[in-house]
């Protein structure tokens, strides 16, 4: 297992030095997964660096095999060459049976979500999205002057699928984030299926974009991916990313699955030249490294349960998050909570209106980090553990 004996691999270098008369390549060896919850900084000592619980990143980063593959991507001057596809389409075909005609790769799922918004909405065909939900599409539509219709969450802080389907009549695109950021909750396969069928029959021109950024982290059994539907339905697109469970947020790589007709429309606009070669080779390795993803999910599930538990034990509650963050009712204004945490060197999520008066989004790091973090939350919120008190 890569986690346990990291020191043993630490002496290896991963870029081959095949050239004649060429000095050894100067590349860092992978040192085993470790929390990088504290920002990597050249100037601050380790203990002064903030703990980052604000961007829903994977605190361990990419796995050993992925780091190896990314270093390998630089061998023989390849970093100086414009990248090809880096074997990623083939790897996705192997991992998930996705034909290349159904696939598009982007600079994070961000670029793909924007391409969808650019291509499928217009000044007369709005974007429909939940609120709060992931804002990328809505912000971009605003930027380019395409109208946005936001549908508030329901009383259970779930995406209001009925209201969203209603609003989708005549819309260019409806954005369904499942599970939803920032609430962390999801709709099961049946509910999503009925939603899609309803939109498909009542507004056949509307593109349905299902953002499954946190798919790998889901533990709720009623969930399933909409990729199979996206392979055949002309109007369903599924977006995925290597930024979350795969630990590659900094590499900027994501993908969508869609019908070839939708893909070719997107290609007319999409800028293909945004992908770096290490990310392509790294992603191709990561998608086939199931063992590493399972370890990561187990880590997250335990640390997430620990953190939700802590809030519940202290008289607060949290949504049933299926992601690598939680949405907790601290009872404190989010800005105030954030400043309190920041003063103690922990950064937590921003405001998510209309829940900014009492709710906070907190990304999940390692369980050790979460023990430190909950102690800090206790101080900021002025609460005492029942367990500790007892």
């Amino acid at each position: 297992m890569t986690t346990k004996n990291s020191m043993k691999v630490s002496r290896r270098t991963f870029v081959k030095t095949t050239g004649i008369g060429v000095s050894a390549a100067a590349i860092m060896a992978y040192d085993g997964p470790r929390s990088i919850a504290r920002a990597w900084s050249m100037s601050l000592p380790q203990e002064e660096r903030p703990m980052l619980l604000h961007n829903n990143e994977n605190p361990l980063g990419p796995g050993r095999k992925v780091v190896e593959a990314m270093n390998e991507a630089l061998s023989n001057g390849r970093g100086g060459r414009y990248p090809g596809s880096g074997g990623l389409p083939e790897a996705l075909a192997r991992a998930g049976g996705i034909p290349q005609d159904n696939l598009m790769i982007g600079n994070g799922s961000t670029q793909l979500l924007r391409t969808c918004t650019q291509v499928f909405t217009s000044p007369t065909r709005p974007l429909v999205t939940g609120a709060p939900s992931y804002e990328e599409c809505a912000q971009y539509a605003n930027n380019i002057g395409h109208p946005v219709e936001e549908v508030l969450l329901d009383d259970h802080m779930m995406l209001d699928l009925n209201a969203m389907a209603d609003a989708s009549q005549g819309a260019g695109m409806v954005f369904l984030n499942n599970p939803n950021n920032p609430t962390g909750t999801l709709w099961g396969a049946d509910a999503v299926g009925s939603f899609i069928e309803r939109v498909r029959s009542e507004s056949p021109e509307t593109m349905i974009v299902v953002d499954e950024a946190y798919h790998d982290y889901v533990t709720e059994p009623s969930h399933s991916t909409q990729i199979p539907r996206a392979l055949s339905d002309t109007h369903v697109i599924v977006a995925r990313t290597f930024s979350k469970a795969h630990g590659m947020a900094g590499m900027r790589i994501g993908w969508v699955v869609a019908h070839p007709d939708a893909i070719s429309k997107m290609r007319e606009w999409h800028l293909g030249l945004t992908l770096n070669i290490p990310s392509l080779l790294g992603a191709a390795t990561s998608i086939l490294d199931r063992e590493r993803i399972e370890e990561e999910v187990a880590r997250n599930t335990a640390a997430r349960a620990y953190t939700i538990d802590w809030f519940e034990q202290h008289g607060m509650d949290a949504t049933d998050s299926q992601c690598n963050f939680i949405f907790a009712r601290t009872g404190m204004n989010a800005q105030e909570f954030r400043s309190g945490c920041a003063a103690r060197n922990i950064r937590v999520g921003r405001n998510f209106p209309p829940y900014q008066e009492a709710w906070a989004r907190i990304s999940i790091s390692t369980i050790e980090d979460m023990r430190t973090a909950t102690r800090v939350f206790g101080e900021v919120l002025g609460v005492q553990a029942k367990a500790e008190a007892a």
């Binding site: 990291s6 020191m7 630490s10 002496r11 290896r12 270098t13 095949t18 050239g19 060429v22 000095s23 050894a24 100067a26 590349i27 860092m28 060896a29 992978y30 040192d31 470790r34 990088i36 920002a39 990597w40 050249m42 980052l52 961007n55 990143e57 994977n58 980063g61 990419p62 780091v67 990314m70 991507a73 630089l74 061998s75 023989n76 001057g77 390849r78 970093g79 100086g80 060459r81 414009y82 600079n107 994070g108 961000t110 924007r114 930027n143 380019i144 630990g247 947020a249 900094g250 590499m251 900027r252 606009w269 800028l271 030249l273 945004t274 992908l275 770096n276 070669i277 290490p278 990310s279």
Partner: protein
């Protein structure tokens, strides 16, 4: 794992012993100052060894420099973090670039390669009422984007020497949203002087108060013509003028995808509204930061390019073929036959040259400059394809 092992890159113990000669050549001081313990040996990586000579995409055959490679290797380990959350961060890189240009971070935008800026600029500044002015032939991307958005494209032909017709382009700027000026121009490789550029901007302003002028300086670092100077200073001080640059060419990082724009803060603010949220990858930001701080690198790479270019251009000229005055890492040669024919004949001998550049594809081929060794192997191939006897390969 102990704290010290977890600090910074953790794997520092694994760094190979430094090659003293190379470090001397590449300036270890700068490296150590900027990168601290991450500083490692500056190494040279060999180009592809599989026999193919790829001189089709204007790449630096050596790839990233040692300090940039080291930064990438370190960056991979913290690649779980978005590029705002690792130092050097996007912000740090913008600050360093601003410092190099004697200006403020607000004058700088980053891109996923300069391509992203070439995509975003026509999006920001052209529309169905405000056309794009470009040259023909020139780098095509802005024209493609403008057309997609329903903007008219006015492409002004270059002159017979391959130089942009700046007067013609300025005249066409009346009512335009944006003028794209590729300086040096790809594929013709020619450059305009700073005097020409200043006069051009003044002339544009006399016909249009607000058309944005975009100077693409992707090949800036390769220019040796003394009359040339970057339009950066002009851009910083003139609303509606900006330059773009890239780490893909001279810096050898085409596969890493980092570029940037510099201009007036108002222009940059508008442009950045279209930027991808985290457009630059975390290791790439570190690598660009390290590359900018590697003293002495640019002149060395420039010199290497000039030498390999001279051998190649001399071969064509001696055989009676015209070569445009190249200020880049490629040459544009009048081969007096269709580029496609030449290209496939070269490809049969494992030499890949540039694609068609309309409207000159019936007569001209673009050939990128690889290593000296690659060019010496490519020249006999060119000779055999064009029916020129050669002994250049053996002569050195």
């Amino acid at each position: 794992m102990s704290l010290s092992r977890r600090a910074l890159f953790g794997g520092l113990g694994a760094v190979a012993p430094p090659n003293v000669a190379l470090i001397t050549a590449r300036g270890r001081e700068a490296l150590v100052d900027e990168l601290g313990p991450m500083a490692v040996e500056a190494s040279v990586i060999t180009p592809p060894q599989d026999g193919e000579i790829r001189i089709s995409s204007n790449e630096n055959p050596y790839g990233p420099t040692g300090p940039a490679l080291a930064a990438l290797g370190g960056g991979f380990m913290v690649a779980g973090r978005y590029p705002t959350n690792v130092q050097p961060s996007m912000r740090d890189l913008r600050e360093l670039i601003a410092q190099k240009f004697n200006t403020e971070p607000g004058n700088v935008v980053l891109g996923a390669g300069s391509s992203e800026l070439l995509q975003n600029a026509p999006h920001a500044f052209t529309n169905s009422e405000k056309h794009l002015v470009t040259a023909s032939p020139s780098y095509n991307q802005p024209a493609r984007v403008a057309r997609y958005l329903g903007a008219e494209v006015k492409a002004i032909p270059v002159d017979s020497a391959g130089r942009l017709d700046l007067d013609g382009m300025a005249d066409a700027a009346r009512g335009a949203g944006m003028i794209f000026v590729c300086n040096p121009n790809n594929p013709t490789s020619t450059v305009h002087s700073n005097g020409d550029i200043r006069a051009f901007v003044a002339r544009v302003r006399s016909v249009s108060a607000d058309a944005v002028v975009h100077f693409d300086e992707a090949y800036h670092e390769y220019v040796t013509d003394h009359a040339y100077e970057s339009a950066a200073e002009l851009a910083i001080n003139t609303p509606g003028v900006f330059i773009s640059r890239t780490f893909s060419k001279c810096y050898g990082m085409a596969g890493i995808r980092i570029g940037y724009g510099v201009g007036h803060p108002d222009t940059m603010r508008t442009l950045s509204r279209y930027s991808l949220t985290f457009n630059t990858n975390t290791p790439g930001v570190g690598a660009a930061y390290a590359a900018l701080n590697t003293t002495g690198f640019v002149p060395r790479e420039q010199k290497r390019n000039v030498e390999a270019k001279k051998v190649t251009a001399d071969f064509f000229r001696n055989a009676g073929f015209q070569v445009m005055d190249s200020q880049t890492n490629f040459i544009f040669v009048n081969i007096r036959r269709p580029a496609a024919e030449f290209r496939s004949a070269c490809a049969e001998q494992n030499v890949r040259v540039g694609r068609d550049f309309r409207p000159m594809e019936q007569t001209h081929a673009r050939i990128s400059i690889g290593t000296m060794e690659e060019m010496q192997r490519a020249i006999p191939v060119f000779g055999s394809v064009l029916g020129i006897p050669t002994n250049v390969g053996g002569r050195r």
